[in-house]
């Protein structure tokens, strides 16, 4: 893979590792999807687990696409570069997740209310020995659960190091996927014991989880597209970098007042700084030196435009939940 123009060498190593991990994830997920497809039967829970596995493909694909696209330098047709491509892909995936989750939830709950009993019959996969499909379902679900535990564990620290939200979302998805498979297994075992409702209940629980995932991802995607303030990789709080940049500026003796606004472009930050200089002496030189200093602060700060202004207009504080 070519050297990334947005990343220091040690981070680049991690990226190579993450890319390899995502390729493994995609191949593994595809095999699990095929396996589940052939053992779907009439189980609602199996259907839900299958859909979740299919949707589980979107974060790795988004990550791999982004890791290529963001390597492209801005050009005259796309002067801001290609960072937004990821955010758009992410929005689509979130909407799909939400819609499918809602559909399965509706389907499962209505089957539960109609007291529908799921039939699971015999299959003959190996020559002449018939076997109850339920056993194959359990085997397929186990296959779609166990590796996800480890994949998720490997991805999470990489996501933090690379400041990559897509990768982080993917590790979360792995967690959701193995829990889903576990719930579906309980549903199938329930059918085996003659508990007709177990399957629909498991499917409902899974779909609530899919809907919640979809809603969460949708919010993040919309926030990103609206240039919300940068947040840390698990989205739990605001990233301190804008404040840090502002403080660095305020510490410069030629700066009377300063304000910084940054937005996320994939895994890096871009934005503007407004400064009120004490006087106009060597303004171009001062701004240039300040820019160099600030860009060296943190590798994630990718582009900063410093603009001298006579007076700073600060944004209003947002209401709660804004």
């Amino acid at each position: 893979m070519a050297e990334h123009h947005e990343m220091p060498p040690d981070k680049h190593q991690k990226l190579v590792k993450a890319v390899r991990l995502e390729w493994i994830s995609i191949l593994y997920l595809l095999s699990a999807i095929v396996l589940l497809y052939f053992t779907l039967g009439s189980s609602q829970a199996m259907k839900a687990a299958w859909v979740e596995d299919i949707l589980g493909l979107t974060p790795p694909i988004a990550f791999l696409v982004a890791s290529r696209v963001r390597n492209r330098k801005p050009n005259d047709r796309f002067p801001y570069g290609y960072h937004r491509a990821t955010a758009i892909a992410y929005l689509c995936a979130a909407v799909a997740l939400l819609a499918l989750g809602a559909f399965i939830l509706y389907d499962s709950v209505s089957k539960l209310l109609k007291f529908e009993h799921a039939p699971i019959d015999l299959v003959k996969p190996f020559g002449d020995r018939p076997i109850w499909l339920g056993w194959l379902m359990l085997a397929a679900l186990a296959y779609s659960a166990v590796p996800q535990v480890f994949l998720g564990r490997l991805k999470q620290p990489l996501a933090r190091e690379l400041n990559d939200k897509v990768l982080y979302a993917d590790s979360e998805m792995n967690r959701a996927d193995w829990m889903t498979a576990g719930a579906a297994m309980l549903g199938v075992v329930g059918i085996g014991f003659g508990l007709w409702w177990a399957d629909s209940v498991a499917a409902s629980v899974i779909s609530v989880d899919i809907v919640r995932d979809g809603w969460k991802n949708l919010r993040v995607a919309v926030d990103d597209l609206m240039d919300k303030e940068p947040t840390v990789v698990d989205d739990s709080r605001a990233d301190p970098l804008p404040l840090w940049v502002k403080n660095e500026l305020m510490l410069m003796d030629w700066v009377k007042d300063a304000e910084v606004r940054l937005r996320e472009g994939g895994h890096v930050f871009l934005g503007e700084a407004f400064v009120v200089p004490v006087d106009n002496e060597d303004l171009v030189g001062r701004i240039d030196r300040a820019n160099q200093h600030l860009l060296d602060l943190d590798w994630r700060l990718h582009e900063l435009v410093i603009t001298p202004v006579p007076e700073i207009q600060r944004p209003e504080p947002a209401g709660e939940g804004g």
């Binding site: 039939p119 699971i120 339920g134 659960a145 535990v149 829990m179 576990g182």
Partner: protein, 243 residues
């Protein structure tokens, strides 16, 4: 959620599922939610029938045919008697849905539209309608322009009309046609001394219907059908001879 916490929860959950699976293997899985198999065993099998020759017949109100034979044998295996109820497919399926019947037969095929109301078994026999010529004649390379006798009012007649270039000649009973090309059930070829032209008009996978979710009963019936599907050609011949 941090990784150590999630993996700590993964272990016990997966272990519990594995344990359940092992336990389950030892005690008659799958089970019926409404105990159909237990009730039928040594008791009465309530079977619905709708006439569809040669699979099911109701001559003089008496059930007969391939599927009736199979169901009677299945009941014998379970030490049960069969109580036959005849009616339209819609009536029987409605009764099956509320478990007033344990089984419905009547020439049902795997593409039945009743899948949402009944648990359909895997198919125990596949039949085809083929275009055949008397074995005294060579099989034609192409059936285009060939006059083919076909039973009136069957899907084979429509398929022959729309999907092939043969000229369908609609007749009341193809088994009575001699010396001409016919569209006929593949299993009748040998009896009527006919030769397959290789043109297959339709394929039917034959199934039975059981109540939704009564998985022990369904699996027991399927095991019986798998064990006895070799008998179907003989039963078909017997049904044909009885006509």
């Amino acid at each position: 959620m941090n990784p150590t916490r999630s993996s700590r929860r993964a272990g016990p959950l997966l272990a519990a599922v594995a344990l359940l699976a092992v336990l389950a293997a030892g005690c008659g899985i799958p089970r019926d939610p409404e105990s159909t198999l237990d009730r039928v065993r040594g008791g009465t099998l309530r079977a619905g029938i709708t006439a569809s020759e040669p699979w099911t017949t109701l001559e003089g109100g008496r059930p007969g045919g391939v599927e009736v034979e199979l169901v009677e044998r299945f009941a014998t295996e379970l030490g049960a008697g069969v109580e036959w109820v005849d009616g339209s497919e819609a009536d029987l399926m409605a009764a099956l849905e509320v478990r007033e019947l344990d089984l419905v037969v009547g020439g049902l095929t795997a593409d039945t539209p009743w899948q949402a109301k009944a648990a359909i078994t895997r198919s125990y026999a596949t039949t085809r309608v083929v275009v055949a010529v008397p074995s005294s004649q060579p099989a034609p390379d192409d059936i285009a322009g060939l006059r083919v006798a076909v039973e009136a009012g069957t899907d084979a007649a429509g398929i022959l009309e729309d999907k092939t270039d043969a000229i369908p000649v609609r007749v009341a009973d193809v088994t009575q046609v001699r010396g001409s090309a016919v569209a006929i059930e593949e299993w009748l070829l040998a009896d009527l001394d006919l030769r397959d032209t290789g043109v297959h008009l339709s394929k039917s996978k034959h199934v039975m219907a059981t109540p939704m979710g009564e998985n022990a009963f369904l699996v027991r019936l399927e095991r019986f059908l798998i064990a006895n599907q070799g008998e179907v050609p003989a039963l078909l011949d017997k049904a044909e001879a009885g006509r």
